[in-house]
């Protein structure tokens, strides 16, 4: 560690968004960079609400550190290979520049006063970005709804103890079709040297829809090139239910409800087929804009069987995408719920 200058940032207040672009749902994110602000790589991945360390490890962190030092050693000769790792242009330079956050926070924490309340959290950046679309009555695009997808959207399972080593390839996935094998080490993606799973996510986050991702693979001491083809709707494979920022999506289109696809047993008990919509209300917001569903008459354990005429089976994330891309704030949509065996028609206000 003494080979690095180590900086710890514990606030998003005045965070330089033109430099620090990452998965804002993370509570632990690492950047490796040069003094001239050239980014060598990122570390920090997450796909589970409760298990913060499910997708990271000390071994993986150690390897990322070593790889970052190696990039630094060869810098600036390797600068061209790092071009894709650099931040993209951004409309807002700091979180406080977003309209929904403007004037609410100071650049520094109030250590002498209400320090907790003075802290602008990273997830508020993504919340604010999405709010811009809603406030402008525009659909939230897939790239904003499904940020920093995990590699499994391409059919890849990666070893959290390595930089980017394949431990699984899903049948029928883009990875399998490209010829990726278990044990392969992905050295680079789109020409970017990979230090971690987070670096793979960075490439995915910035990929097109559709996209072809060129990979350089190390397989049994041989370097080979493969291409992963991603379909136009590839991001929608991402599960965003774990994300803190999904809480605000629940406010926008579910009136504060947390919805869970009914299990086979619950469907049998409710006499609902496997292929139909059956989202059970797991939680109902109690306050403010998160209590819109409660005020509209929804109750915990209601089962939503039709939403805006949609009655095909959908996960919570899929329903949210449908509503966030088609229904704008102020609209009221018809919802049919199953409650104690009886069907009831309610209305849900979009926000």
């Amino acid at each position: 560690m003494d080979k690095f200058v180590c900086v710890r940032l514990v606030q998003a207040n005045a965070l330089d968004l033109a430099l620090f672009q990452f998965d804002y749902d993370l509570t632990f994110a690492v950047f490796f960079l040069n003094a001239d602000k050239t980014i060598y790589g990122r570390f920090g991945s997450r796909s589970d609400r409760k298990e913060a360390a499910k997708d990271i490890s000390m071994e993986g962190f150690r390897k990322a550190l070593t790889a970052a030092l190696d990039l630094h050693k060869h810098y600036p000769a390797n600068k061209a290979s790092l071009a894709g790792k650099q931040p993209r242009s951004t409309r807002f330079k700091t979180p406080e520049d977003f309209p929904s956050l403007a004037g609410k926070y100071k650049p520094t924490l109030d250590y002498e006063g209400k320090v907790v309340q003075s802290c602008l959290h990273c997830h508020q950046v993504r919340d604010a970005e999405r709010r811009c679309f809603r406030d402008d009555q525009k659909p939230i695009p897939d790239a904003v709804l499904y940020p920093y997808p995990m590699p499994n959207v391409a059919g890849l399972s990666l070893d959290r103890k390595e930089k980017a080593k394949v431990t699984g390839v899903a049948a029928g996935s883009p990875a399998e079709k490209a010829g990726v094998k278990v044990g392969d080490q992905i050295l680079s993606l789109e020409g970017q040297p990979l230090l971690s799973i987070a670096d793979v996510q960075w490439v995915l986050h910035n990929a097109g829809e559709p996209a072809t991702l060129n990979a350089q693979i190390l397989r049994k001491r041989r370097r080979i090139k493969l291409a992963l083809d991603l379909a136009s709707d590839w991001r929608r494979q991402s599960d965003i239910a774990w994300r803190t920022t999904t809480w605000d999506l629940r406010r926008m289109v579910a009136g504060g409800m947390v919805l869970q696809d009914s299990t086979a047993g619950e469907r049998r008990a409710a006499r609902l087929p496997e292929n139909t919509l059956a989202l059970r209300v797991n939680h109902l917001g109690e306050y403010g804009d998160h209590a819109v569903a409660k005020r509209a008459g929804f109750k915990k354990d209601d089962i939503l069987v039709s939403v805006d005429g949609q009655n095909s089976r959908l996960a919570e994330s899929e329903l949210f995408r449908y509503l966030l891309q088609r229904k704008m704030p102020g609209e009221k949509i018809p919802v049919t719920v199953l409650r104690n065996g009886e069907r009831m028609n309610l209305e849900l206000l979009m926000q």
Binding site: K3, V7, R8, A35, F61, C119
Partner: protein, 72 residues
């Protein structure tokens, strides 16, 4: 590898220190205040000051490791 012989300690500290702290009856404010106190006391970290980190990296020729960590 000698350059990175202690990441596990740092990583564990950075990631899990707060979890350990949760077991105590500290409230969120205490966690934020304690984090600053403990990390600064370690002597290895520049706390909440990127400009200082960039200047130090330029002066020493070392790369920067920036950890963004939500405390409360």
């Amino acid at each position: 590898m000698s350059a990175v012989k202690k990441p596990s300690i740092v990583f564990a500290g950075l990631l899990f220190l707060d979890v350990a702290s949760l077991t105590a009856a500290e409230d969120r404010k205490e966690r934020v205040l304690n984090d600053r106190k403990e990390v600064e006391a370690s002597g290895n970290w520049i706390y909440n000051d990127l400009s200082k980190g960039l200047a130090e990296a330029a002066r020493t020729g070392k790369p920067l490791l920036v950890v963004i960590r939500c405390i409360p």
